[in-house]
């Protein structure tokens, strides 16, 4: 009987997530119905879902701010020009509750029930992955700024366009900066690497980026190559391997909670490497608050966008200024910038197509070349990469004064990086 009870308990736990998402879905359907309308012919209807509740709600809220700003800006200018006629754009935004199943079913509802003409994407690779299938099946242009995994774009989909450059490129951007420091004699040659990556498509892409670079260069040797479970609680055994290997570089790919947990254990274990990076994580204020400013010093990170780009890129400056004007002088993060740019890319393609025909807009998206807020200043969706943008990353480094200047690429740099980590000498 005891065993039976336990088995029941485990089943109930497993069913829990499904039960909750199904409840949430019903709730969303009820909430969303008031915002839905059939196309009137006088406005452009665009649908999107975002994780406004659930695990990704914080970031979902950031993307919403980006979308809202782009729509407001377009409508203030009289709308999007379609064949010489300005048409207002209307966003039907639903909450996918950070659930993959809900994201997919709401995308289907937006297309077939709410009759939206185009879709903007949600945030987080797994949710985007689920929605792209629906978009492809329904042959509707789907532009997203929230899915970076190359797996999404390697399926040969025609209707899916991504603004987030692949995580492999993120890893390569970090390695390029390290390589420049190595050429300058600041890092040993060859340098040894401890490579820790979360066991997700994100982590696998990161690993691929680092290992391919080091294999090609021959100046690096990956000594520790381990993956870890997302949401891990104890990294001490893993960090023990890093400690024993005494490597020059510590390169990890982690989500924010894992970064905080791992870095806390890294610091308490007395570890120090000449270069320390957690991939896209590092410069967040939340991490500095959780770990203390001292404990995040010299961490290197690479992100898709930084407000510091405003110094070099006029499009980024315009975005930062309008964002601050709308949101009480708050400085945007890369999430809002990507949301904003995703909507703008779709508007631009509609304008270039001169019609609301899905095929025409899809073709214009595929051939798009627009001045962008992103690093490099231009947005394209190269066919050879499955219509995934390959805009460069900006590499930042946390400095003791609390700033995180862009240290690479050189055309975007706002400061100079420091290597090796001066704290290791203390």
């Amino acid at each position: 009987m005891r065993t039976a009870n336990l088995v029941l308990a485990l089943c109930a736990l497993a069913l829990g997530a499904c039960k909750q998402s199904s409840t949430d879905q019903k709730q969303q359907a009820a909430q969303g119905s008031s915002g839905a309308a059939a196309p009137s012919g006088t406005e452009i209807l665009i649908g999107a879902t975002l994780p406004l509740t659930g695990a990704e709600s914080r970031i979902g809220g950031f993307y919403k701010e980006g979308y809202d700003l782009a729509f407001e800006e377009a409508n203030q200018a009289g709308g999007v020009s379609v064949g010489g006629k300005k048409m207002p754009v209307r966003l039907t935004l639903l909450d996918d509750t950070s659930s993959q199943a809900t994201a997919a079913s709401l995308a289907d509802r937006l297309i077939n029930s709410d009759k939206v003409q185009f879709l903007l994407g949600t945030y987080a690779t797994n949710l985007v992955e689920a929605q792209t299938v629906v978009a492809e099946q329904n042959a509707i242009p789907y532009v997203n700024g929230g899915g970076a995994a190359t797996a999404i774009y390697k399926r040969g989909y025609k209707w899916v366009f991504g603004l987030l450059a692949p995580v492999e490129l993120l890893a390569e951007s970090i390695m390029k900066w390290i390589d420049a420091e190595q050429q300058a004699g600041k890092i040993p040659k060859p340098a040894t690497i401890s490579l820790l990556w979360e066991n997700t498509s994100h982590g696998k892409d990161f690993r691929k980026g680092v290992t391919e670079f080091s294999d090609k260069s021959k100046n690096y040797k990956v000594v520790v190559d381990e993956s870890f479970e997302l949401g891990g609680k104890d990294f001490s055994a893993l960090l023990g391997q890093v400690k024993a290997a005494k490597t020059d570089l510590f390169l990890a790919d982690a989500h924010l909670p894992d970064y905080i947990t791992m870095q806390r254990q890294y610091v308490t274990a007395g570890l120090c490497n000449k270069v320390l990076s957690y991939g896209a994580r590092g410069s967040e204020k939340q991490a500095a608050d959780a770990l203390g400013k001292k404990n995040v010093e010299y961490i290197l990170s690479a992100v898709w966008w930084s407000p510091l780009l405003a110094d070099k890129n006029p499009e980024a400056k315009k975005f930062v200024d309008t964002f601050k004007a709308k949101y009480q002088n708050r400085v945007p993060e890369w999430y809002q910038a990507l949301g904003y740019e995703t909507a703008r890319a779709l508007f631009r393609a509609i304008e270039q197509a001169g019609s609301l025909d899905r095929n025409a807009v899809r073709e214009k998206l595929a051939a798009l070349k627009m001045p962008s807020v992103l690093p490099g200043g231009e947005l394209t969706f190269p066919a050879e990469f499955g219509q995934q943008s390959h805009a460069p990353f900006v590499v930042q480094q946390n400095l003791p004064d609390g700033s995180s200047p862009i240290v690479a690429p050189p055309d975007s740099a706002t400061g100079k990086g420091i290597a090796p980590n001066p704290n290791c000498a203390k």
């Binding site: 829990g16 950070s98 891990g232 308490t268 939340q286 404990n295």
Partner: protein
């Protein structure tokens, strides 16, 4: 050699955390024969309570431990009196109690999403990244503190169950509630007390977890699963067994990294769970009834 010492220390400290997470679940099952699925919810509630007391009132989490545990104790008693008491006892109540307590957990979790959003929160104290040297190893002060609390809970629980009237009554009710009624033990009160105690232990585990990891309203789910493994390994209803099982699980997980990829180490515990259920369904430490 240093690496081996590091691994042993990591295993012992991890065991402390696992044990604190599992005590409450094991105690409630041992006495009430109820799998408290709201254990995860109370772990999450304990984490948020510690975070709130720290950020709003500046109270150190270890000083808040008693306060949070006492509050959770009364929440547990209230939960028992309002909900659990109405369930049929024995085999008939198995499914109902699972569903009911799972529902309570969902309510707690969604209330937390409403109150605190899904953002990850962290508890940072002056000693969050402080370490103590043990031989050539630096060991987190926080983890040592969690281990210390686990030992204190083990001793207090053991003394409570073996040396006090209430403890003896709890053990008697766990063995045979009907006979207890005949000899005048207030069975319902003992059930309420045990449920309160188990709930307090869950909240205490959440508080301790919050000093180590970031958390959000989903916190508690992975901890509940881990607690299941520990409780089943140790043998349901055995407090000392729970502590030893926590040590076994932690040791296996930590040392597994020497032979399998790190991301698979978490699965080792579940393999162990299946093996124990198949080979020794009563747990490694048999069917002892508390203490």
């Amino acid at each position: 050699m240093d690496r081996l010492v590091d691994l042993v220390i990591a295993a012992v400290l991890l065991a402390g955390l696992y044990a604190t997470m599992a005590y409450g679940l094991g105690l409630i099952y041992g006495v009430l024969r109820i799998v408290n699925l709201n254990h995860g919810g109370m772990i999450m509630a304990g984490a948020y309570a510690a975070w709130y007391l720290h950020t709003a009132l500046g109270l150190d989490p270890y000083l808040a431990l008693l306060l949070v545990s006492v509050a959770a104790f009364f929440v547990g008693i209230l939960t028992y009196r309002l909900l659990v008491r109405r369930l049929p006892r024995g085999a008939a109540g198995g499914v109902q109690s699972l569903l009911l307590l799972f529902g309570v957990w969902l309510i707690l979790r969604n209330a937390a999403y409403l109150l605190f959003s899904g953002n990850d929160q962290t508890l940072r104290t002056t000693y969050s990244t402080r370490a103590i040297a043990i031989g050539n190893s630096l060991v987190s002060l926080n983890r040592i503190a969690v281990f210390g609390v686990a030992i204190v809970i083990l001793i207090v629980l053991h003394l409570l169950l073996t040396r006090t009237y209430v403890g003896k009554a709890i053990r008697a009710v766990a063995q045979n509630p009907d006979s207890c009624t005949l000899v005048g033990i207030p069975v319902e009160r003992i059930y309420a007390l045990t449920f309160g105690l188990g709930t307090a232990l869950a909240a205490a585990a959440g508080l301790l977890g919050a000093t180590l990891f970031p958390f959000n309203p989903s916190f508690g789910a992975a901890e509940l699963l881990k607690s299941f493994v520990v409780v089943v390994l140790g043998g349901l209803g055995s407090v000392a067994g729970t502590a030893i099982a926590a040590l076994i699980l932690a040791t296996v997980e930590v040392f597994a990294i020497l032979v399998i990829p790190a991301y698979l180490t978490a699965a080792v515990g579940f393999v162990l769970l299946v093996l124990v259920l198949v080979i020794r369904p009563g747990g490694l430490f048999g069917q002892r009834v508390l203490g």
